[in-house]
């Protein structure tokens, strides 16, 4: 008889609730956790491929130390003791000479990062970093500048929306299961969808309006939308008068950005822009302008995101069904939250090496910015960084220009990769610590914010198949070996769970029935007449004094993006619904669904270069070249070329992915230094490639 384990998926960063069936020590079935009505038994292809990952031998199976030059691909299998000894002796040398601050760590953030932050705090380092400079930092900082709330400080009620506006937010291919279910229900219920993207991703197919915008001109379109909305008085005046400061400054700033002007920039007819503004206004406040998820795209993405947030405010869509709502915390339910593992560890006095929070006050000090940490490694300023823990994060895949990254990483004395998979960064590590898959490891309890806040927990379904460990064991072991055991007194995961739950009034047994605990039965809505925002003024601020104190304007005049020369294209990238940023490229099931990538080029633009559909082409960018199959289509703007991210892998152990297709990040030459100075994200779509028939 199969045994049911409620847990949390680990195939991508969404971490959906799942139910796992185990029979005779084997995982035989995974489905969505049906106790969660928003989830049901649904699961995406990535989540379904979890069993294929678990039973695949092409994943990390034991600790390794490199047995040759960095990146030579030569490895020595070692015991955990030997790996730990190697790491601790290196770290002790580094800490003796440079202090704990010379150690950095990057992961992919999320609800389980608390233990890694605590580990860094225990070592006395402020340099915990995550992946977000290639993800949501622009949107996050834009949100903070307006509401005082971060990117996740507002959520969206897609199911009840009447109009959903998406600037390249590819809802149905870069999705969260619960969110896309709600989105498709909204569409089914008759919601209008406006999709704006130089490439017709699948989401365009679900839209009621599709605009093939010229790449890099979202900000121009937004300025015209705000212009019309204000000029024609299409906004929610009651809401804006009550809650907003800076409307007149915004109004005079956007005056020159007319729809006729935007048409020349974006290629979208002026009368369509005006019609859109009137239509969307008639559906307010049940309107959602999605402010972007992965908006690390252009040098003005931060300002584009600010304008999206501003449109939401102008629609008065805050804390209303069909609009945005404030995700509630345990406190809103009258309960105490989880206790942080770092709560009792002394505060680190050293400042971050990347300058976030002090040199750059506008950037959150929490996770900082990895490209600026790289700068610190490279220059030794403001102080040397000598060791780097890379934790289920893959900078050589996720960050641009791997060759330049390797030059910088080579200045480190120690690179430790902790991962489940063979990442690209694995290939450049000194020591590799294999983590158990999410089906073989327990994880700390997470807080689920929402209309019904609560907690959930990942529990292992089976014991590890190979010589791997759970993250909590690795950090506890290392802390103990480095003499910081007093801050990591945990002998079992139960010790950690009990520590986290100590103030909450909840017991770990309370998770047995459903896999999660909800702290309220009814959705919590705040009184819309008494909203408060954590900005300096308590209002929603269109003009941000905090930005302006650092000479960053609240409103940035528009600069037209570069047009490519003939034979040149702006390189865009993206994903399919069945692959995860590249973590799943070698998965036995996923690799069959999408084994390689190709290059989308506009049919007419390609034909002018003598390129035929399906033909191999050579692409180049500043000396880096590669061959890839061309896919000719009318459904991409003539200035852009597109490829799926996550291919062109360099680790031979991954036999299904090795050298299949091309790696987009390798063609983003020089972009490590091209980032949004106001928002902090790297501008991943600011590179151009030359394309010729191969």
């Amino acid at each position: 008889m199969a045994n049911s384990v409620y847990s949390i998926c680990g195939m991508c960063a969404v971490r959906c609730p799942i139910r796992v069936e185990v029979e005779d020590g084997k995982v035989v079935w995974i489905e969505g956790n049906p106790n969660d009505p928003g989830m049901g038994t649904s699961l995406c292809a990535k989540g379904i491929a979890g069993r294929a990952l678990l039973y695949d031998n092409e994943r990390l199976q034991h600790p390794m130390i490199r047995d040759g030059e960095r990146g030579s691909g030569k490895w020595r299998k070692v015991s955990w003791d030997e790996a730990y000894d190697y790491i601790t002796s290196k770290l002790q040398e580094i800490m003796k000479e440079h202090g704990g601050k010379a150690i950095m760590l990057s992961d992919r953030g999320g609800p389980f990062a608390d233990i890694r932050k605590a580990f860094m705090k225990a070592l006395g380092s402020p340099n915990y970093t995550n992946h977000d400079c290639t993800c949501g930092r622009n949107t996050h900082h834009a949100s903070k500048s307006i509401y005082g709330l971060g990117r996740t400080g507002l959520a969206y009620d897609f199911k009840n929306a009447k109009h959903i506006v998406l600037f390249g937010r590819n809802m149905v291919e870069s999705f969260k299961v619960k969110e896309v279910k709600a989105f498709m229900q909204g569409v089914k219920n008759g919601a209008k969808v406006t999709y704006i993207d130089p490439r017709a991703a699948l989401t365009a197919s679900k839209a009621t309006r599709y605009w093939q915008i010229r790449p890099g001109t979202d900000y121009a379109l937004l300025l015209a939308i705000v212009n019309v909305t204000l000029k024609e008085g299409l906004y929610d005046k009651d809401f804006v008068n009550k809650y907003v400061s800076g409307l007149s400054e915004l109004s005079s700033f956007v005056k020159e950005y007319t729809p006729e002007w935007a048409e020349k920039e974006t290629g979208i007819p002026a009368e369509e822009i005006v019609a859109f503004c009137r239509e969307v206004s008639s559906d307010k406040p049940s309107v959602i302008f999605h402010p972007g998820w992965h908006l690390s795209r252009y040098n003005d993405s931060f300002y584009a995101s600010r304008m999206i947030h501003i449109m939401n405010v102008l629609m008065g869509n805050i804390e209303v069904p069909g609009g945005q709502f404030l995700p509630k915390t345990p406190k809103d339910a009258g309960k105490k939250g989880l206790k942080s593992l770092g709560a009792e560890i002394p505060k680190v006095e050293d400042k971050r090496a990347d300058g976030c929070g002090w040199k750059y006050k506008r950037f959150d000090g929490g996770p900082g910015l990895l490209q600026l940490q790289y700068q610190a490694i490279d220059t030794g300023e403001p102080y040397p960084i000598k060791a780097y823990f890379v934790v289920r994060h893959d900078p050589l895949l996720a960050m641009p220009d791997p060759e330049e990254q390797k030059r910088i990483l080579n200045k480190l004395d120690l690179i430790v990769v902790v991962d489940v998979n063979y990442s690209e960064t694995f290939g450049f590590a000194d020591v590799v610590l294999p983590e158990s898959t999410y089906l073989e490891r327990d994880t700390m309890i997470r807080t689920d914010k929402g209309l019904k806040p609560g907690f959930s927990v990942r529990r292992k379904a089976i014991e590890p198949i190979y010589d791997t460990k759970a993250g909590w064991e690795i950090w506890t072991d290392l802390a103990n070996r480095l003499g910081k055991g007093e801050y990591f007194p945990y002998k079992s995961i139960e010790d950690i769970w009990n520590y986290q739950l100590q103030d909450s009034g909840i017991k770990i047994e309370d998770f047995d029935e459903k896999g999660f605990v909800q702290l309220t039965t009814k959705p919590i809505w705040k009184d819309r007449d008494k909203l408060e925002f954590p900005t300096p003024s308590g209002k929603i601020e269109f003009v941000s004094k905090k930005l302006e104190e650092e000479d960053i304007p609240s409103f940035m005049p528009y600069t037209s993006p570069k047009k490519p020369e003939k034979g040149e294209f702006r390189l865009l990238f993206g994903r399919k619904g069945y692959q995860t940023h590249g973590q799943t490229t070698n998965n036995p099931i996923i690799s069959e669904l999408m084994g390689t990538n190709c290059l989308w080029i506009n049919t007419k633009a390609a034909e002018e270069l003598g390129i035929k559909d399906g033909q191999m082409v050579e692409i180049s960018s500043n000396g880096t070249t590669g061959k890839i199959k061309a896919k000719l289509t009318d459904f991409i703007h003539p200035e852009a070329a597109f490829m799926l991210h996550g291919y062109g892998r360099s680790i031979p152990f991954q036999t299904r992915a090795y050298k299949k297709g091309l790696a987009d990040q390798a063609f983003m030459k020089g972009l490590l230094k091209v980032w949004d100075k106001a928002g902090g994200s790297i501008s991943l779509c600011e590179s151009f490639i030359k394309v010729t028939p191969a």
């Binding site: 079935w29 489905e31 969505g32 049901g40 038994t41 649904s42 699961l43 995406c44 292809a45 379904i48 491929a49 069993r51 294929a52 149905v172 291919e173 999705f175 299961v177 896309v180 279910k181 498709m184 569409v187 089914k188 008759g190 017709a200 699948l202 365009a204 197919s205 679900k206 839209a207 009621t208 309006r209 599709y210 619904g577 069945y578 099931i589 996923i590 069959e592 669904l593 289509t633 459904f635």
Partner: protein, 167 residues
């Protein structure tokens, strides 16, 4: 026709291929074979929208299955109690006659065993009162497991509601 029917609401499908992955995972479908397949059609421009549809193709479980008639060994069979068409692996000799006979390309070649496999609607799950893997895990609820009668009833209802919506 079997007692069962997999009904697809194409408008809800997002082409995420959870169905294909769920089938591969549940039925240990060999490399290169797909017992169910989402066929992408498009994009084509319809009222300025690039429409891309995904059509679910598995097995129709025919009333008079040509694959069963073509099979020389009796490996390809129709289950008497509910009409599910399935292969008895032990009897299959890999002659591929069923592959030639089926007009829809349903029987799939297993290059590892040299035999044929196909969609049996996850009949082991049906016998436990459950639904096929593809339907159970479908991300958006685009494919549903029901009787053919319920499917036509649903289609009529959906059509009527759509007509009323248009006024």
């Amino acid at each position: 026709m079997s007692k069962y029917h997999v009904e697809q609401d194409i408008s809800l499908c997002i082409g995420c291929l959870a169905c294909e992955a769920a089938c591969k995972d549940k039925n240990c479908v060999p490399e290169g074979a797909f017992y169910c397949k989402m066929i992408q059609v498009g994009p084509r421009m319809v009222r300025n929208i690039p429409v891309i549809d995904h059509v679910y193709m598995a097995c129709f479980h025919c009333e008079k299955p040509w694959c069963v008639d073509a099979c020389p060994t009796g490996a390809m069979q129709k289950r008497s109690k509910d009409g599910i068409v399935f292969v008895d692996d032990d009897l299959c000799v890999g002659c591929k006659a069923c592959m030639k006979a089926c007009p829809w390309g349903v029987p799939q070649w297993n290059s590892a065993t040299g035999k044929v496999g196909k969609c049996d609607l996850c009949m082991d799950r049906i016998d436990q009162g459950l639904q096929p893997a593809c339907v159970t895990k479908c991300t958006t609820g685009s494919i549903k497991f029901m009787t053919p009668q319920a499917a036509s009833e649903k289609r009529r209802r959906d059509f009527a509601e759509e007509m009323l919506k248009r006024g």
